[in-house]
Structure formats: C-alpha cells, structure tokens
C-alpha cells in the first residue's frame, strides 16, 4: 500500500522526506476519527506555492466587471460588497435595489471573507489580513496589510516547507489524490 502511494520525482521531497511524510500520514490515520476534517488532508500531494512577493504585489483597482462566481456578500449603507471566491471583491452602488450599479472590482488573491466597520473594509488574502479605506467606495484604497495573521488552509510545516517558501494554494493535479476515506 505504501509503495503505491509514493510519488517519485516531486522535486520538493527527496525519498527520505517522502518516507517521513508517509509515516506522518499513517500516524495521522490513528486519529482519523478524531480529525474527520471537511476537506481531505493529504500530506503526500505536491503543493502549488504562491510566492509571497506575488501574494503581496501592488493591487490595481479595476472598474466594475462581470462577476465570475459569487461568494459571501455584505451590505454597507447603500453599497454591496460581493466576494468572488479567491479572486477579490466587487463593489456595487445599491442605492436603488432595482438597478444596482457596478463600481469597482478589487483583486485580492485568496479572498473569501469581507466585513466593513466605520469605512474600513477588512478582507482576508490567504494568510494576510488587508484593510481598505472604503469611504469613497468607487475608489477603495489599501491602507494596511497584517502579514501572516490568518490561519492557512495548509500549513507549510506539514510539507516540510519554510513559511517564506510561499502560500500553498493547491496541489498538482497528478498528485496522489486519495482522501482519508480511502486510506
């Protein structure tokens, strides 16, 4: 069983590290019933990393654009803030709910949640928390980035990676994709 699950030539793991990872996975099997995580947690897959300088590259606000997919929404006064999962958030003028008007799209990598208080919008960006001044909602301004303050979906240490290697944003498709239920 273990031989079949080893992926060779990953480039990120040498043989020894793979064996450590398998050992970790097998030891975690013992606590499977305690964990029962929503998403399968596989330490043998090959992570895709987003370098930190790309995560923290300058943000260019776009004019309103079509929404590709929608996540969570917040209402703030006459405005709607609509998350597009992992992409950022759209801002609409909703003064007239019969004809909401697209104002801006703010690209925020990894964004899933937003909330607004006193004209400051807080948004997650993978492991960072961003603060935008939205006093003028058609031209929000990034005013602060609290780096590394959000719990990551996948901890780098589980993959024997330093935190400064980047953020794990997914896994290579040809990785072993078995889940807990098939272990």
């Amino acid at each position: 069983m273990t031989q079949n699950t080893v992926r060779s030539g990953t480039g990120l793991f040498d043989r020894k590290k793979q064996l450590i990872a398998i050992g970790l996975a097998l030891s975690l099997m013992g606590v499977k019933t305690l964990v029962e995580a929503c998403s399968p947690s596989i330490e043998r897959r090959t992570p895709i990393l987003l370098p930190l300088d790309e995560l923290r590259a300058p943000i260019t606000i776009n004019q309103g654009q079509a929404i590709g997919s929608n996540g969570k929404i917040v209402v703030y006064g006459n405005y709607l803030f609509i998350n597009e999962p992992k992409k950022g958030f759209h801002i609409f003028d909703n003064s007239n709910p019969a004809s909401p008007r697209a104002l801006a799209f703010v690209p925020v990598l990894g964004n899933l949640d937003i909330t607004v208080k006193d004209d400051y919008l807080y948004a997650d960006s993978y492991i960072d928390l961003l603060v935008f001044d939205v006093a003028t909602p058609d031209s929000p301004q990034l005013v602060y980035r609290a780096e590394g303050t959000i719990e990551p979906e996948h901890r780098n240490t589980h993959f024997n990676l330093d935190d400064d290697a980047g953020v794990i944003i997914g896994f290579e498709e040809n990785s072993n994709s078995s889940s807990w239920s098939t272990l």
């Binding site: 929503c38 969570k72 703030y76 019969a98 807080y122 979906e153």
Partner: protein, 263 residues
C-alpha cells in the same frame, strides 16, 4: 407568526434604520456603522474587535486603531464554519454543534456552552432568544441529516432544543418579518411559518421559490438579498410574497443584462 419578541426587535431595528438612515448593528446615535453579513459569515466585528474564522481557527484583532488591526488572541474551534454575533455573544456554527462565547471582554471571548447536534455543515443565526440552525448533508462534511433546528438561547450558557424540522438541503437563512427564510440550493428558497402558540414551535412551509437556487440571505431595510450560483437577487418582502427588484448576473449569465424578469 414569528415570536412576538422577535417581531418587536425587528420593528425597533426598522425604526432605528429609518431614523439614522444607515445600516448595521443597531448602534445608537451617530456611532459606528457596521456592515450586515449573511448567515455564512466568517469575519465579523463587535465593538472594536474583529473576529476571523479560517480553517478551524478564530483569530481576534484589536481595532482600537482601525486601520492597523492588531492580532491579539487565538481561539481553536475545529470544524467551525460560521460566526454570528448577538446579545454580546459570539455564536460559532460548526459541523458538530454550536459553540457560544461571551463577549463580556471582546478581546478574550469565554466559552459558555457547546450545543452538540447531529453532524452536518452550517450556520446558526440568533433572533431575540431563539437560535435557528441548519444542518445540511453536504458531501465531505460527514453529515447525516438535512434539517432545521430551533433552539432556546435565552440563557446562552444553557441552550435547549425546541424543535426539529426536516428539510431537503438547508443552507443560509435569515429572519423576515413574518417568516424564516431558508436557502436550499437547487431546491429553492423556502419561507417557513413558525407558529409559537403551542408548547413547542410548529414549523410549516408557507411558500417556496423553486427557481431561486440560493445559498445565503441578507435582509436589510425590507430588501431581501439572495445569493445564488447564477446571480444575486433582490426582493421586496410582503408577507410570503417576494417581489423581484433586480438580479446581478453571475457566471455564464453575467454577460446578460444586469436586471432580469420574474424569478
């Protein structure tokens, strides 16, 4: 009929919104304004504190200096998915139950109860003393039921189950003046009548909008916003009659007009 107390709170909220012409928590006067979130929110503020929930960890930020949030405490809430704040308490909805924290010290929430329910994903909302929880049998969530649970949270440290109501695929929810609105994804938007006349609340379906495949709801200022995979719908609410005001298209429909006809 909804609980009279809940109706009163809604009425008071409506008056406050009318008086101050703004949104958010029913803060007095020209105090802070806060956005209104749907039931699936995982990031909320309370007073000068921000709560973020990601991957089973609640990070707490001090917003004394609002443009420089400072991380302070961390709470571990494995399998938690949603946050709701009411009555100076933080309610954390998760796969196995509802964890309730007192926000007497907003920067250091203290757990006061854990209401264990059947396995299933999803949110809790609180209206007055009543909690409404949906449990949904989503693949990957180890769920085994699809139902609404109504809980008595008059004492947040001792939540009590009042009623169960089987549903098809309940997800996000919100309280309307006369109904409880529950998204059921492909099964549509259900408006439930909750009769409090008897010893236990009696739930029945008042209306179902089958074409609104929504996953979450926000109700603010007689405007019901339903987020669905094909768009963001806005309705005026008149008892169980929803009047479509607009649809912001999403996905493959996003290139169509920004408003649409009847649902």
């Amino acid at each position: 009929m909804m609980l009279i107390q809940a109706a009163k709170i809604l009425l008071i909220s409506a008056v406050l919104i009318t008086l101050h012409g703004c949104c958010g928590a029913p803060a007095a006067g020209s105090g802070p304004t806060t956005s209104i979130s749907g039931s699936t929110a995982a990031m909320l503020t309370y007073e000068d504190t921000l709560y973020t929930l990601h991957n089973g960890v609640i990070k707490i930020f001090d917003l004394s200096q609002p443009d420089v949030p400072e991380p302070t405490h961390t709470l571990y809430a494995s399998q938690a998915e949603t946050l709701f704040i009411s009555k100076a308490h933080l309610f954390v909805g998760g796969m196995s139950g509802v964890r309730t924290f007192s926000l007497a010290d907003p920067l250091a929430p203290a757990e006061v109860s854990f209401y264990h329910h059947a396995r299933g994903c999803d949110p809790i909302i609180i209206e007055g003393d009543i909690g409404y929880v949906t449990l949904r049998n989503r693949p990957g969530c180890n769920g085994d039921v699809n139902r609404l649970e109504i809980l008595d949270f008059s004492d947040p440290s001792k939540p009590k189950e009042l009623a169960r109501y089987d549903m098809q695929f309940p997800y996000g929810l919100t309280v309307l003046p006369d109904h409880l609105a529950v998204c059921e994804d492909n099964y549509g938007l259900a408006l439930l009548d909750i009769n409090w006349a008897g010893e236990i609340p009696d739930v029945s379906e008042a209306a179902r909008y089958e074409n609104i495949h929504c996953f979450d709801l926000i109700y603010a200022g007689n405007n019901l916003i339903a987020t669905a995979s094909d768009g963001i719908y806005q309705f005026s609410v008149d008892n169980e009659f929803l009047g479509l005001q607009s649809k912001i298209p999403v996905g493959i429909t996003a290139h169509a007009a920004t408003t649409a006809g009847a649902p």
